[in-house]
Point group: C2
Chain length 400, copies 2
Amino acid sequence: MITIDEHRARILRAAGRLPAVKSSLAEAQGLVLAADVAGRWPTPLFDNSAMDGYAVRAADAAAGATLRIVADVAAGSDEDPALAPGEAARIMTGAALPSDADAVVPLEQTDLGTETHDVAPEQITVLAAPERGAHIRYRGEDAPAGALAVTAGTVLGPWQLSAIASAGYEHVAVHRAPRVAIASTGSELIAPSGTPRRGQIPESNSVLLSTAVRDAGAVVTSIRIVADDPAELRRTLDGLDTDVVILSGGASVGAFDVVRAVLGEERGVRFDQVAMQPGRPQGFGVLDAGLIAFCLPGNPVSVAASFEMFVRPALRQMAGFAVIDRPRVVRTAATAWSSPQGRVQLLPVVADDETVRPATHGGSRSHLVTSLAVANAFAVIPADTERVEAGDPVTVMVLS
Amino acid sequence: MITIDEHRARILRAAGRLPAVKSSLAEAQGLVLAADVAGRWPTPLFDNSAMDGYAVRAADAAAGATLRIVADVAAGSDEDPALAPGEAARIMTGAALPSDADAVVPLEQTDLGTETHDVAPEQITVLAAPERGAHIRYRGEDAPAGALAVTAGTVLGPWQLSAIASAGYEHVAVHRAPRVAIASTGSELIAPSGTPRRGQIPESNSVLLSTAVRDAGAVVTSIRIVADDPAELRRTLDGLDTDVVILSGGASVGAFDVVRAVLGEERGVRFDQVAMQPGRPQGFGVLDAGLIAFCLPGNPVSVAASFEMFVRPALRQMAGFAVIDRPRVVRTAATAWSSPQGRVQLLPVVADDETVRPATHGGSRSHLVTSLAVANAFAVIPADTERVEAGDPVTVMVLS
């Protein structure tokens, strides 16, 4: 048996990081920026008004002064009206400040004149004199052109993408999202809505894996259900054009473990016993053309545990994320349970702000898919722990 | 002025919850289950083997006994081979247990006989006698048919969707994701990659809002950039077929605030001054045909703050989420900053496990889009606080 860390390290060494590609901003959502983004322009781009009001010559705008309104500058206007002494221009927030003005008097510091929404007044009276520079945002005062706006390695959420648009870009260099094919193997599997005859069960791993892959920020390229038939499995593999394939089922040493037979014996995937429960039999390797293959055991809780321990960190690393692991916290066991000697237990649990308890009363049996529905975390119990007692501190890997 | 809570309460009363719709499991990812899901079948579906090994009659399988192998039961097989005394069947994990068997002897507790991957041996010798029932999962032992598998109100992630598939379903009733149109208004806006002339700036709110809407679990139906022209804005509104429209810009009392003119004066949207900074001018209303309209101020940080305070909770409520708000935590101010008297300050900040600091050295100026790129939270400073001192406890709304 090898440890979780040994298996994981081997996977992360092989997985690497995907190259940078050019992406539209919308398609870059959730991806990792591959190169620094610098502003194409200074911020602000031009001297502009911070308020709705009047652009004035400060020397003229004493309290009580009446100013003649000679222009009306809207946002987006390229006008630069000349202001003679005693003159002012109505101006909108964000509009370009007339070159002759050196202060803005906000609307509420004027008598509003005869202003209406549509028509600027002929004159206004200033109620409070502005200081020179009042309510002006000067070109470049926040950042010069070329200033760093968003740093390589940043995960691109709404705020970061907004900053990149403001910097003057509609496309951006990101690490490509991994493309992932999913194959559930097993002759016992039928479509969930079908009626199983003796020996058959509803297939659930493909929806677990495909949605988990998308949650991890990767792209699902295909989903296949494959019978325990070597020829069918070979055809499935040969038809893939993708970065990663995740197979579930058939990874044990049993007589009918076709995944192990085809990928292990024919295609060089290494199969290990990993010291974890569930999820002991694990296959991982790099196939021809660089296709990364994960061969996970077939039961749903094993699939979930294997995905979190091995697949998700690899996908996140490939996509360029600095943080590839789920957060771990320590909670207090609300009840006792047993754990296998010599293997790390990964138990679906319900964790709140203080406590943790198994997600099923049935203990740690790995086939209990129903436990997954209410779990929000995996408890990670060390290999040398045979029993967790109520009140013990427990490390919990938080999933939502 | 009204408070944030007053404005928010009015929005949540109007927004309601969207009806349940039928969705494929893949399309239900991230949505909220609208009705309990009960298993169509018992779990397990049939008596089956928990191990790769031999299905035996326990009475025959004493240590040292040699058993004749008369059948080979694969997963998915519907065979039910008869076992006479002294006979056993090779069986794979998960395969249906022969009716005549009452225990399973795992492979490693046999001499393996002459087993190969492909061919079962003619006989095996038992090394350790099994108890009756050993390594058998009995039909229904985990749950009877009709048992509750996933509860209405559950957010559907990979584990929950897997449980629903296992329960026998490929479709599920979910609260529909809100459909959201986005309109950035302002004659000053140009495509980010364009070259602005005097008075123009790159448009960034549409990417902020569209990606934030998707992050909230809603669907973007259209994105429009609209000049400050009433006729153009009316045409945009009249062309929408969606649940929600989010407009940014033009919500103030300024002369050119076309959104306020068209939506407020013509379509019954109420505009308020909300006691927050940024984001004071806010419009909200329900248009003809039930279209919910948010009119947000135009600068990016105001848009981000308004989205988090008002739009996101409404979208989450519409989609049926029990938790509609971001988590809030308390952190210690790493530095001092000022906050406006009488308004709640929403300051983009960088929060770590212990401290919080403004995301820009420039303080709280709402036009600093660059501060968004590095922020991971909003500090929420009460209206009666004029200054945050280093060391003060600060409430932080965590965004990532």
